[in-house]
Symmetry: C2
Subunit: 224 residues, 2 copies
């Protein structure tokens, strides 16, 4: 019923898989269900992707690479427009914007994948998580680097933690689109991407530029 742009079986399988993975989880989505959803036969997954794991990898690879390229491109634009020291908000928007856009996209496949990605970061399946981490490594390094120059008052450890908290806020938001809508008994306006992005960036900018935690000087371990 949906106007699918999928032309070949391979793409159809990828789209069916990301839909079912998002809805029921990877482990609970059988190849039978996926191929049925894609209108293909059970053997097609093994033909096109070698195995179920091959399919999983392909589902993630297809969307992650462009997403992270977009993030890096936006980061570069921040750096260009403001020589040397870019605006914190600009950098944060480059990090979370593309994911939120994907979560609110009109194409259902994008929305499904966003949800899938949001929760896969902490997924128990080591292999799945490592796919994400590999794809994310460059983004993490480059953004950390730039954030360190904008927030020079933060120690490396402090920055590491704040980055971690930030990823959590983003991932939970992206993962929870449907849950969110159900929780607030009013409805959540997922069409207002800009408003949502603004709220998240605003939240994170304040958090990231909080004064360093040096209050009750931590009991310093005497490292020789």
């Amino acid at each position: 019923m949906t106007i699918s742009t999928a032309t070949d079986t391979k793409t159809e399988l990828l789209e069916a898989a990301e839909r079912l993975f998002a809805e029921h989880g990877i482990a609970r989505s059988s190849l039978r269900a996926i191929t049925r959803e894609a209108g293909a036969n059970v053997a097609s997954v093994n033909y096109h992707f070698g195995s179920k794991e091959g399919l999983v990898r392909a589902v993630f690879a297809r969307r992650l690479e462009p997403l992270n390229r977009e993030r890096l491109a936006l980061l570069d634009r921040c750096l260009e427009s403001a020589k040397g020291k870019p605006e914190l908000e600009c950098v944060l928007r480059a990090l979370v914007g593309p994911a939120l856009l994907m979560m609110c996209d009109h194409e259902p496949g994008h929305r499904c994948f966003a949800e899938l990605m949001g929760r896969a970061i902490t997924a128990p399946e080591t292999r799945v998580r490592s796919i994400l981490l590999d794809e994310f490594r460059e983004v993490k390094e480059r953004f950390t680097e730039v954030l360190a120059t904008i927030l020079p008052h933060l120690s490396q450890e402090e920055l590491f933690w704040r980055f971690h908290f930030m990823i959590g806020a983003m991932a939970h938001t992206v993962a929870g689109s449907f849950f969110v809508a159900k929780q607030s008994d009013g409805e959540v306006d997922t069409s207002d991407v800009e408003g949502m992005t603004l709220k998240l960036v605003n939240f994170l900018a304040a958090a990231m530029s909080a004064p360093s935690t040096n209050g009750p000087r931590k009991t310093r371990k005497r490292k020789k």
Copy 2:
């Protein structure tokens, strides 16, 4: 080899289950593996819990109830010590402190459960998620209520979103203890609960008290 305090089979099953659930996920943890780990026979789960789902519910119920009671008790203490308007940091610490303590507990069972809980919030299994949400409902309501009095400049919608972001940061932290340790090529000191809690509370306090997002007045949908 671990000094288990479990005396009866039922408890032993619960502990084995939370260990395996945390490590491999619920769907990928078979009753066979769980009963083997617990040193019991395959039929024991069905005898004690009726089904695998019964076991899952029991695993969550056992730890969530005390955890959330602790949160509410700490919140009450914030309210008592400061008549009317408690400190933001105090309230945030009441929310995230107990979870972080659990994540860093010396008892492995607590740590496993923390990890499990952190990721179950966004789990695709509807039933699992609804267990968590049911247990969390009162906490969410009471904390939201108190936060609204501390941060009166926030609209209901804005507060809702910030609460959501906050839960994300907490959940990701609690879920990712092992992942975190591996990501930073240096080691992460999970023994320093207080330092971690301080960093998270500090981060969240700044984020929550950020000025409201009213910059580019959102395109107001004309609702008749």
